[in-house]
């Protein structure tokens, strides 16, 4: 496989919180244009895996590569793993967008300011260009009429769509979604999922931690299932849902349906 096709990959990723080993050696490669749904019960390590990919959590060992570039690590005096070059980590993070469960919009900025923030101040792009692009993406997620509103004035679904516009505006290599619909009222879930379907159809590289079985099944190009820190199912949604290899996943689907 051509490594240039790799959007993001992890190799033998391990991560513990104290005594609790959350990731026990995860290997995963997302190619350009893939939409990977990550399923798993709570505490399985799926969010931690996602957060290791943009170094929000520092893995204890293992390799993270973004478009072929390996994140350099070093050990401190206590033997803990640390990024060797924080500038590299910041640069890599600026090419990966993350959408959070709790939206995490910056409350003191308007929606437009939220969307323009990273391109203008992190990527140092021209304000006028960024503004046009921000409005384009806010249109795309359907909240261009809320440009000057503050996050508190928006519904949860609108806030999450604004957060997706914020993620899009940096024109990321990969988009990471950490349970993007879990904090929403059931009636608002649909509008966010629709935006995500559109993005998937455009061929964006997305890794989506989710409990939305419909999305995993219909939209993603690959579904993985994590159980106790290991990937135990990995394949197309048809393979995984229709003929799961493990009994654990069958039980999981049965419980979700």
């Amino acid at each position: 496989m051509n490594p240039g096709q790799h959007a993001i990959s992890v190799e033998q990723l391990h991560k513990s919180f104290g005594e609790n080993e959350v990731l026990k050696g995860i290997d995963l490669t997302a190619n350009r244009g893939e939409v990977i749904s990550v399923l798993g019960s709570s505490g399985s390590g799926k969010s931690t895996l996602l957060r290791c990919m943009n170094l929000l959590e520092i893995p204890d060992s293992g390799i993270v590569r973004v478009t072929g570039e390996e994140v350099l690590m070093k050990k401190n005096r206590r033997g803990e793993n640390l990024p060797a070059d924080i500038k590299q980590v910041e640069r890599i993070r600026s090419r990966i967008a993350m959408v959070f469960q709790q939206f995490n919009l910056w409350a003191h900025m308007t929606i437009l300011e939220n969307v323009m923030e990273a391109p203008v101040y992190v990527l140092k792009q021209k304000r006028a260009e960024v503004r046009d692009r921000a409005i384009f993406y806010l249109n795309k997620v359907g909240i261009a009429d809320k440009l000057d509103a503050y996050p508190i004035h928006l519904s949860g679904g609108q806030q999450q769509r604004a957060a997706i516009a914020r993620a899009l505006c940096i024109e990321p290599e990969v988009m990471l979604f950490d349970e993007p619909t879990s904090a929403l009222d059931p009636e608002l879930v649909g509008e966010v999922l629709q935006v995500m379907r559109d993005l998937a159809a455009e061929g964006r590289t997305m890794i989506v931690v989710t409990h939305e079985m419909g999305f995993a099944r219909e939209v993603s190009s690959r579904t993985i299932f994590i159980e106790q820190g290991l990937i135990i199912e990995n394949g197309t949604p048809q393979q995984v849902f229709d003929s799961p290899k493990t009994e654990r996943f069958e039980m999981f689907i049965a419980a979700m349906m």
Binding site: L56, I86, E90, R93, S94, I96, F100, L105, Y121, V122
Partner: protein, 244 residues
């Protein structure tokens, strides 16, 4: 009661008000400018940086403003090495001593106010900034401090008013501020009621002006905290139905 002694001596009060306003505003500006970096270091610095800041804050919050002013104005003059040094021309001036004490005092309180509101930055917003690739410095400048300043405003507006009222102590070390003016009039005519009620009215007028200005700033800065449709106007809306 005879308020003609006030009207005929109003220039003394106006001079006093000028001094109060200069003292307070310069102290507040210096105090705030010092407090911002100190609060940042107090939050993100290692313990070598934190400990001196803690001691500074602890001292100025732990002792009365009057005692601090006496220590600077009377206390420092006791040491030969200060009297003989180049700083003495400054420290022998009551005005400078008051300014210095007030600045450091308000600085200490402001450090604590800012520290509290920086620490209260929602974790998710910090995480979003991290994930966007912001450096620590950029995050401070664009996310943590702007957010903290807004949260700090109500507490800081109290600090402004405390500083205004605390500045009355300057009159003890010979400065003619509003209270100093009142003391002059009182000693000249022996009419404490007229003298000090006038001072009180001056302080009230300044306080209410400040409160008004801060409220304007809050309206502008706290828009992001006010849910729409919950303004006072909306709560009064049913009246329209009754009359209409």
């Amino acid at each position: 009661m005879d308020f003609s002694i006030i009207t005929s001596n109003i220039d003394v009060y106006l001079e006093g008000m000028k001094n109060t306003l200069i003292l307070v505003s310069i102290s507040l500006v210096i105090g705030l400018l010092l407090a911002v970096p100190l609060a940042v270091l107090r939050v993100v610095g290692n313990s070598f940086v934190q400990i001196p800041i803690r001691i500074f804050v602890y001292f100025f919050r732990g002792t009365p403003l009057l005692v601090q002013m006496f220590l600077v104005y009377y206390g420092l003059g006791q040491f030969d090495f200060i009297r003989e040094s180049f700083v003495w021309p400054l420290f022998k001036e009551a005005y400078f001593c008051a300014l210095l004490t007030f600045s450091l005092n308000t600085c200490a309180y402001t450090v604590e106010i800012l520290r509290g509101s920086m620490v209260a930055t929602p974790h998710g917003e910090v995480e979003a900034a991290t994930a966007a690739g912001m450096s620590k410095f950029l995050m401070l400048r664009r996310i943590i401090l702007p957010s903290a300043f807004r949260r700090a405003l109500p507490a800081y507006s109290n600090e402004i008013i405390f500083m205004l009222h605390g500045s009355a102590l300057a009159s003890v070390i010979t400065i003619v501020d509003i209270t100093g003016a009142a003391r002059i009039i009182n000693s000249r005519y022996y009419s404490p009621y007229e003298a000090f009620i006038t001072a009180a009215l001056f302080y009230m007028a300044i306080t209410f002006t400040l409160v008004f200005l801060i409220r304007q700033l809050e309206k502008k800065w706290h828009a992001h905290l006010q849910p729409e449709n919950q303004s006072v106007v909306k709560i009064e809306a049913p009246h329209e139905n009754i009359t209409g």
